[in-house]
Symmetry: C2
DNA sequence: TATTAGCACTCTTTTTTCATGAGTGCTAAC
DNA sequence: GTTAGCACTCATGAAAAAAGAGTGCTAATA
């Protein structure tokens, strides 16, 4: 296991640090001068040669310096960051305005995070399919339309218009609402099965037809929704020359605009499960499940809104991103989010 | 007025046509051969020299061909497009899926339009401030919270949670709902003034306190919203070399991501009023109210959702955009939108 | 034995130079 | 009024040359 002695680790670290800052291949002379090892460039060269053979660094071409390989970054993330943890991490405080609207909050969160890190960011709204029904209300809007309003845990409100053949009188409407609330309260979409439906139909008596339509609608309202994703800072990519040529940039930004690929990315990540104990996951280069991002690294965190209901927040940037800063930011934010959402749910 | 004789017009037209296709400065020899004027390049050169003096075309540098100036494009848009109108315009049919959700529909519209034109597109949701209240419903969600749901013309539904000190019993809730609906139905935000409020308070009796809070909330629900804008195809900018260098592209795409500048653009345009009889407006280069877009042209259309309630749909592309195609597309789409929204409102 | 100075060699990057070609403006002839 | 002809300008691209960065290897050193 110990294929790297202490000195090699130090040199590898120095190379990565330097490359993170400059984005340029780093040569032996640079290391020789900048590090506190007091070794000549020739010695460093020998060590670098070894490190290359072991696959931690790579030479873009003969007579260029070395850059970290995916394996190198991986080593850095797994071993080197922890060592630095003693340092005081001074994250700019992530000021998030309080707002009860989930959508606004999420939009703000990605924006703040993008600003703070200078990378591209995304966040997925918690999938409704896992949330519970807190409250249902049908209202007769006019002769032929009923407005169904469903409130889920996390105070997410969804609504839909239902067309009906004939209006219900207010007494029946009241009954129907009672029926819906007593039966659906606390259930998730997957809980609404055939057995429940026929039970409710039986109770509905003459409104059996409407009940069916309503339940159908409720299910659609909650379940049918495709995963909502908010993004920010896609244009930060232009700050990193290795990603900024128009071909790549166009694809990258398109992916952020379309969001379809991001959706795939996120569902892959969510099924992937947690890799670290902290709820933070790091995908370096090819490790990322998505092709468009193979020159990037993706760091994600999962926030929770009660049992089983999760959303994902992620940062996408160059492989030489500041992993420490990014992970700290995400941890911080994840905690803040968990707290806020829990509070919103309690009320 | 007649500073351009027929031949000059023909030459100008040929230059513009050619430049639109190629994006390259066009020289005298090209015109001499391509047009049906049967003139030598020397003659064309003389005419081009005149056209330049008059400001319709411009030379990027000595020994380059000419490109149209803003004035040239303006002439083209004002005079030359009309002449071509006999041609059958074969717009690909803009297939828009029916959906009762305004948001989904608008998102789809910009996407289709961007696909169809290959330019960047945007659409503003109709400002709620002008729409009318169609239906209000308060529901007791739990001891301390009331959910207010407001439905506006166009079937736009907004909701908000209100915190209250003590729950209302169902009878009082019913009264309150009646009161709200009878008083607010058909009103716009600006109609909800102090006089109305005090009148309603008087009618509310013991629930005066709640009424105030509710009305406040309703006003917020409807009025406070900032203009919602959906965009698509921002990365199409990379298809036009004159706009595709990373500096410009980054700014451009950022503007589309942030949407703040677009909001300004749209409100400028909306106050600007209609310039043409068709409801289509064209801003060429510097004519555009916004700095970031000074190398682009902006073409917009206004769609309506009943009296005074407007939204704007726009296309942003290079100055050499295919104005005819764009304007036709917008006209077509505007009609379709007007129709759809009218229908949604009737039900 | 580990380290280092020295040097030849490689490969990229930048600069310079040069040739090419597109396009113009002007003049003189038609 | 139109056109052929020609000198001139300027962008573009290729080729050549120069400069720099960095390596790998060898031989000397501690």
């Amino acid at each position: 296991m110990e294929e790297l002695d202490e000195r090699k680790v130090k040199i590898l670290n120095a190379i990565i640090q330097n490359y993170m800052e400059t984005g340029e291949p780093v040569g032996s002379r640079t290391i020789s001068k900048s590090s506190d090892l007091n070794l000549s460039s020739a010695t460093i060269r020998n060590e670098m040669s070894d490190l290359e053979e072991l696959g931690y660094i790579v030479q873009p071409h003969t007579s260029a310096g070395r850059i970290p390989s995916d394996k190198g970054y991986r080593f850095y993330v797994d071993h080197l960051i922890a060592e630095k943890d003693e340092e005081i991490s001074d994250i700019k405080d992530l000021m998030i305005e309080k707002t009860e609207k989930m959508e606004k909050m999420l939009k703000q969160v990605v924006k703040v995070l993008a600003n703070n890190t200078q990378y591209a960011t995304m966040i997925s709204a918690p999938a409704l399919s896992g949330t519970k029904v807190k409250f249902v209300q049908l209202s007769q809007v006019n002769e032929n339309q009923i407005l169904s309003v469903v409130m889920m845990s996390g105070n997410i409100v969804k609504n839909k218009l239902i067309d009906v053949d004939e209006p219900l009188n207010s007494e029946n409407m009241l009954k129907l609402n009672m029926l819906l609330n007593t039966n659906l309260n606390g259930l998730t979409v997957s809980d609404i099965n055939l057995a429940l439906i026929s039970r409710m139909k039986a109770q509905a008596g003459e409104f059996e037809g409407i009940i069916e339509q309503v339940l159908q609608t409720v299910a659609e309202t909650i379940g049918d929704e495709e995963m909502e994703i908010y993004t920010s800072g896609a244009t930060n990519i232009f700050k990193y020359p290795e990603l900024a040529d128009s071909q790549k940039a166009s694809e990258f930004i398109s992916a952020f605009e379309e969001k379809e690929e991001l959706r795939n990315l996120i569902s892959d990540i969510e099924t992937d499960g947690e890799k670290t104990g902290t709820g933070i996951q790091v995908y370096i280069g090819d490790e990322s499940p998505i092709q468009t991002m193979k020159d990037c690294s993706v760091v994600t965190a999962t926030y929770e809104l009660g049992e089983g209901v999760k959303g994902t927040i992620g940062i996408i940037g160059p492989k030489r991103m500041d992993y420490k800063n990014v992970m700290d930011n995400l941890t911080h934010l994840k905690n803040q989010l968990d707290q806020m959402l829990k509070k919103a749910d309690e009320t």
